[in-house]
Amino acid sequence: MGRYWREFLAVLAGVTVLVGGCAAASHLKVLQTPSVPSSLPFALPSPSSATAFQRGIDVDFYAYPGQDVTAAADVTVDYVRSLHANAIAISFPFFMTSRYAAGVHAGSATPTPDQLATVITEAQRAGMKVTLRPLLDENALGESRVHLLPVNMPAWFASYQKFLYPYLVMARQLHVSEFILGTELTRFSRSNQWGKLDTATRRIYHGQLGCADNWNVQTDGCGITGQLVDAYQPLLPPLAAAWTSYDASFPRGTVLAEVGIAAVDDAWNKPYLHGWPGAALDPAMQAQWFTAACHAATAAHLGGVYFWSLGLSVDQTGPTLADETQWAHSPGASAISGCFASIEESGL
């Protein structure tokens, strides 16, 4: 055999070994690329879902070290979906060191834009309208945020604008439907500083801007027209009639951004109160409150109702003596699910 044939055969053998080796290596587990996750079951969307009544759930997202946000988002969104909800509002905290502090800041419990994006993407994937709500944490204030009046308004707004920036960029990138610029900041919701913040915000984020008032609607709160209500006004039984009357005071299309109550006796006296030391649990009362609020909202042609709240967690729990406002997997959840299912069936 000539030299050239030997060289040719050697090259051929080399190429064969190379191709065979690569083919074999390509099946090694360690080299595999990520695969597409499993899909949600095939389902046809309901007509005109874009303008549908917002059957919403509030998710209160406090971050903590080691949190598996992806898993928590997966479980939480799945649970929200099981309640026949079509919308989700994600609240996330920001902080002041005291009520006299010049400005606001992100804390260790403030989720990063990336963490929020994980939850948003999961919710969008489930076909839900997503709203983002930065919420001033009250712990360091020593009072409710509705009583806060910043000592240095320009500095407060400057720090708030700085805090919001990465979240607005993320919201724009993910096409988040709505961003609630101010929530329950009642004492200064008419400040002229809001106008500057709105202008700066609209340069970054092009979705709907909202302002959530407490109890009642104020016109032009936060300098914008998209008003929502955190519906914590005390109401006396019979609850259905009381809710109908309460909702009638709102303009058509108003969205109840928070409807929540502790699952304890007589909580309708103070639905805004979270801690009820020594009170007996009464999940049935919570369920009645939710049912009345939900049906009254549709009857009053409101834009939607969001129930407060689920934490972002892999464990969704019902009311306990430690936290009476929880409602997952309880009669309160059944009430929400039942009402939302009936609204969904009616095609509202």
Partner: protein, 553 residues
Amino acid sequence: MTAVLAPSPPAHARAAPLATSHNIAREALTWAPLALILAAQALLTMRLSTGAFASGDEGRYIYAGHQLIYELWHGGGSPYYETFFSGAPVIYPVLAAMADHIGGLVAVRLMSLVFMMTATTTLFLTTRRLFGYLPAVVASTIFAGIGLTQGLGALATYDAMAIMLVTIAAYCAVRTGDAEKHAAAWLLSVPLMLLLANATKYVTVMFDPVVITLAAVQVSAAGWRRALKRIMALGLATSALLVLMLFLGGSAYLNGVLFSTLARSGGASPVFVGTVLSDKKIISESWTWIGLPVAASAAAVLLTALRRSWKDCVYSAQFLLAGCLVTIGNLRLHTDESMYKHDDLAAWFACIGAGSAVAVLSREGNRFTKGAVAIIAIAGAVLSGVHYSQTAASTYQAGGNDTTLLVAATLRPYLEKPNGRYLIGGLANEQTIYLDHVRVPWFLLYDDLYIKYPIPGRGGDSHGQTRGFTCFQLRPHCMYLEGIVGYQAAIRAHWFALISMWGDHNTAQDTEIAQAVEHTPGYELLTKVGGAPTWIYAPAYKGSIVNSPNTAR
């Protein structure tokens, strides 16, 4: 002054004695550094590849290859990839689809890794022939360490194959000296390899003059007239082959070459979505990616100039110029679109220049000085690799945000409707189909850039097999509609079962498509996953059973 870089007489390798049983071990040992470099290159490359799902380009080329193979066996009209791909679709995409059939995306990427390792090997061999052993080790270490080299080795696109072919052509070119045993055969190989490289990826034609000049320099000792003759002969041969191939390929190929490469518009183009960049930014990016070998090449030019070795200076300048070619090309276009892919080929030549700098420095002085130069050069090359390897992820195109996978998972059940037509955003349509492993043939898959909508009742078909007038406005003699009018007509006729603006194109045409969908009854918003709306024409899915083995959650 004696020329230290000029290629004649033949350098180190040619002077080496024939291998005998006595020096086999020593010979094997001389290959050990290259083996080490290749092993490091493989590891650094695979570090990028594992954990990264298919990029848009990878999905597109592999999908296209499968479609072309199907077309070859079953006919059914042509997707005309040749009109817009930046390389001949019948070469790399088909090869990639075959590899994909055997071992999926991993196999296709391994193929790229082999191509890039071959390029490193040819760099070693070329530099060794030109400047000796140490420059070869330094040059190939620098090249293997460059982030772009690792990125392209982990990416299933035509770039790795094209780079390999150009480098083989360059290696053939340096073997065309008069002292070579089979110089004529090597010389003949040059235009053939260049043809293959240019056909694989058209933009490599930019380096043809470099390779041809390299071949000419091999005979420069016999006079510049002879070198000039060689330039003319190789230039004509290569051009003739390219023209012949273009002629055989037909007008579709000519359009493709013009559209994707030669008459490519700059950063303002809606198709090439890169933004218009300043010259400073383009130079800065190039510097970040391949600055060191280019700087070392420049140092070689400077060193030879200082020594008044003008012949060597010209020789080094050739590698410096090749190292800057891509940057210059992108400065003309005012965009960095694809620059990170092409810059690696420029870096390959610049690395030879870097090797030449080492050759200049190590050929003078005593043993100690030479040893110091060797240690410093190798240490520098390794440090360069450490530095550039850290930048590899920033230019690596595949993988990224999990949103892409979520979108693919969300859309999958809706992409399995038999004979359903789908419009998916321009930068993601084939990628989504490839990731989902759903069987959607090209004539049922549309993007937001081009449509040829057959007007109902006028004899046209979605395969485009029936020839007829294609118009941008609805007129009596038109069989097909193109442009936004085509999209609007198709949407109004519920031609698409699913329309997704996923793909992040954000062109003016996208806005008009979205408006058309929103104003057409029957389309319902399915999801906004990924921040882009996806609609389905619900009646098209009613009653259809969409089975997917992957839909169970």
